[in-house]
């Protein structure tokens, strides 16, 4: 089963990368509001049902993929079939 993990800096956390992207976009003439930059992790998970897969990926997020102090995460599951 394929899983996608989206990791984002939590609201209020200084995100200098996002600020740099935001100012570059404005410089190019795109009138964007706030830009925040996170990370995407695509995974192949060895689990047959979605509940087990989600639980497994959640453990990965808590232990390694995100730092809960400064980052939030979102898990999307997509059946490989």
């Amino acid at each position: 089963m394929r899983a996608t993990v989206l990791v984002r800096p939590k609201p209020g956390i200084l995100d200098p990368q996002g600020e740099a992207v935001e100012s570059s976009l404005r410089h190019l003439g795109f009138p964007v509001g706030e830009a925040r930059v996170g990370r995407v992790v695509d995974l192949e998970v060895e689990a047959t049902d979605a509940v087990a897969a989600r639980a497994e990926v959640e453990r990965m997020c808590e232990q390694l993929l995100a730092n809960p102090l400064i980052e939030s995460y979102e898990i999307e599951l997509e059946d490989a079939q």
Partner: protein, 233 residues
């Protein structure tokens, strides 16, 4: 006098991507310790009375700085050593690893400027009631170099207030180079035996290199390790 004092054994852990491990070993030897190299894959620490996690770019700083190194086998041994009260000093990447491991509070983020900073900085000593700063003057100023891209220490307002109240903020920048919360440059854990800082004391142990203020911090660690070695001997 100093020559007759025992040289406590202090381990310096090398992770893949560490690059200040040799400087740390050399500085510790120069200042009166027997510095012992430790490989990150070692599951047990050799017989040491103190530990240094050196600077560098462990595991290429992939994912987040220190996020992968914290799972090295040696880190389990370091956590056990710290839990027994052993002094542990994390410098730069070592600080990042200790935060990721949950042995120190807070997290380190990319510098607010997004630029790598490499220069001497002035640090105000906020606390001298830690083994690492016991030889410093309260309120004194240390000049020690920083060199990092992700040294912006972060703690929530609640966590910061708790750390301030506990006296765990040990060093502050006088002119903040990275945007860290409350100008924090170095913190200790609640038990005060684990410290992390972004500046590099091991690069400031000889006036020839601009400053020897870093020696005060390393000598503090060495003195603490010496006491510990005597107690446990």
């Amino acid at each position: 006098m100093t020559e007759r004092e025992p040289r406590p054994r202090i381990g310096v852990i090398t992770f893949p991507g560490s690059n200040d491990d040799r400087d740390a070993l050399q500085a510790l030897e120069l200042l009166g310790a027997e510095a012992v190299p430790v490989w990150h894959a070692d599951e047990r620490l050799p017989d040491v009375a103190g530990v240094v996690l050196p600077g560098g770019f462990s595991y290429g700083d992939y994912l987040r700085c220190g996020a992968i190194a914290r799972f090295s086998p040696a880190m389990r041994a370091v956590a056990d050593f710290a839990a027994l009260g052993g002094p542990v000093l994390g410098i730069c990447n070592g600080f990042q690893i200790l935060c990721e491991a949950g042995l120190l509070p807070g997290a380190l983020r990319p510098n607010a400027s997004l630029s790598f900073v490499c220069r001497d900085v002035d640090l105000r000593v906020e606390r001298t009631d830690t083994p690492f700063t016991s030889l410093c003057e309260p309120g004194g100023v240390l000049t020690i170099p920083v060199k990092h891209g992700e040294g912006c220490w972060f703690a929530s307002d609640e966590l910061l207030a708790e750390l301030e109240a506990n006296g765990q903020i040990v060093l502050r920048y006088r002119d903040n180079p990275n945007g860290s919360v409350a100008d924090v440059a170095g913190v200790v854990n609640a038990d005060r035996n684990v410290m992390g800082l972004m500046p590099h004391p091991e690069h400031a142990v000889d006036p020839l290199l601009g400053s020897s203020d870093g020696a005060l911090i390393l000598r503090g660690l060495i003195a603490s390790a010496r006491d510990r070695a005597v107690v446990t001997a």
